[in-house]
């Protein structure tokens, strides 16, 4: 398989009231559609696994009408396509000074419009795992659910002798996995 990571397209409304943002959003859509065209034109699309690591939308958390068109762009990509949300999709880390922070309401919006907020895909001795990094440190019930799910995925990878590749939006740590956020 050929894994292609895309990230942060920030697909916002092309008819935004603010002229500057309207221009930026139109450019973002132009770029995203250009890349989708290039990927669809490849001869090896049946080998592709495309992972979009968040900020699919520009303000999808507070403006959920951004989510369905962005999900449509995801659906236009060839191969197997997976996405995890970023702070612009489901809110910021609870430890962030930026607001709004992640919430179950924002998470439900993503799940309803785009799909699951995490994924696992195993093939050819490898396991790709996608995490919703925005949940980490939130204390929300889905954080513990995701942690349990991750342990299960890692156990399965260990048992199968698979290499693991982990995708998420925000870096999970800077220097050490046990550092305090």
């Amino acid at each position: 398989m050929k894994v292609i990571q895309l990230s942060d397209p920030h697909l916002g409304p092309r008819d935004h009231d603010d002229g500057l943002r309207r221009a930026a959003n139109r450019r973002a859509w132009d770029h995203a559609e250009h890349v989708a065209d290039a990927l669809r034109a490849r001869p090896d699309t049946d080998e592709l696994v495309i992972v979009v690591t968040g900020d699919l939308t520009d303000e999808g958390h507070v403006n959920p009408s951004e989510l369905p068109p962005a999900a449509g762009w995801l659906a236009s990509l060839p191969g197997a396509v997976y996405a995890v949300p970023g702070n612009h999709d489901v809110g910021n880390f609870v430890s962030s000074t930026a607001t709004p922070t992640v919430s179950e309401r924002y998470l439900a919006q993503w799940q309803n419009a785009v799909g699951p907020d995490r994924f696992a895909y195993a093939a050819d001795g490898h396991r790709l795992i996608g995490l919703n990094s925005m949940l980490i440190g939130s204390g929300l019930p889905p954080e513990a659910e995701q942690a349990d799910w991750l342990h299960g995925q890692l156990d399965a990878a260990d048992a199968a002798g698979e290499s693991v590749w982990v995708f998420q939006h925000a870096p999970l740590f800077l220097r050490a996995a046990d550092e305090v956020r």
């Binding site: 050929k2 894994v3 895309l6 930026a24 693991v164 999970l172």
Partner: protein
């Protein structure tokens, strides 16, 4: 939980979120995230004073039972870098 990822069986952590702005329609958008796909790569991403047309590549991991190989493929995308600062 994260300590579970800091083990040899986990080959790589791949993230987004940290990206530069390029092809800005207006430099008055100081915090506007990169409107192009930052999962693409150009040298201009890392040398913000280099303005001009940049061709973008996509990062690719080719994974099979015998190997894990990183490479780039053309994204079919060109942008013009106009950094706000």
């Amino acid at each position: 939980m994260l300590g579970r990822l800091d083990v040899p069986g986990v080959r790589m952590l791949l993230h987004g979120h940290v990206h530069r702005r390029f092809d800005l329609p207006d430099p008055r958008l100081p915090h506007r995230a990169c409107p192009a796909l930052s999962g693409t790569h150009t040298e201009a991403d890392y040398f913000p004073r280099d303005a001009g047309v940049a061709r973008h590549d996509l990062g690719v991991l080719t994974l099979d039972a015998a190997r894990a190989e990183a490479s780039w493929l053309p994204a079919g995308l060109e942008t013009t870098s106009r950094y706000a600062g």
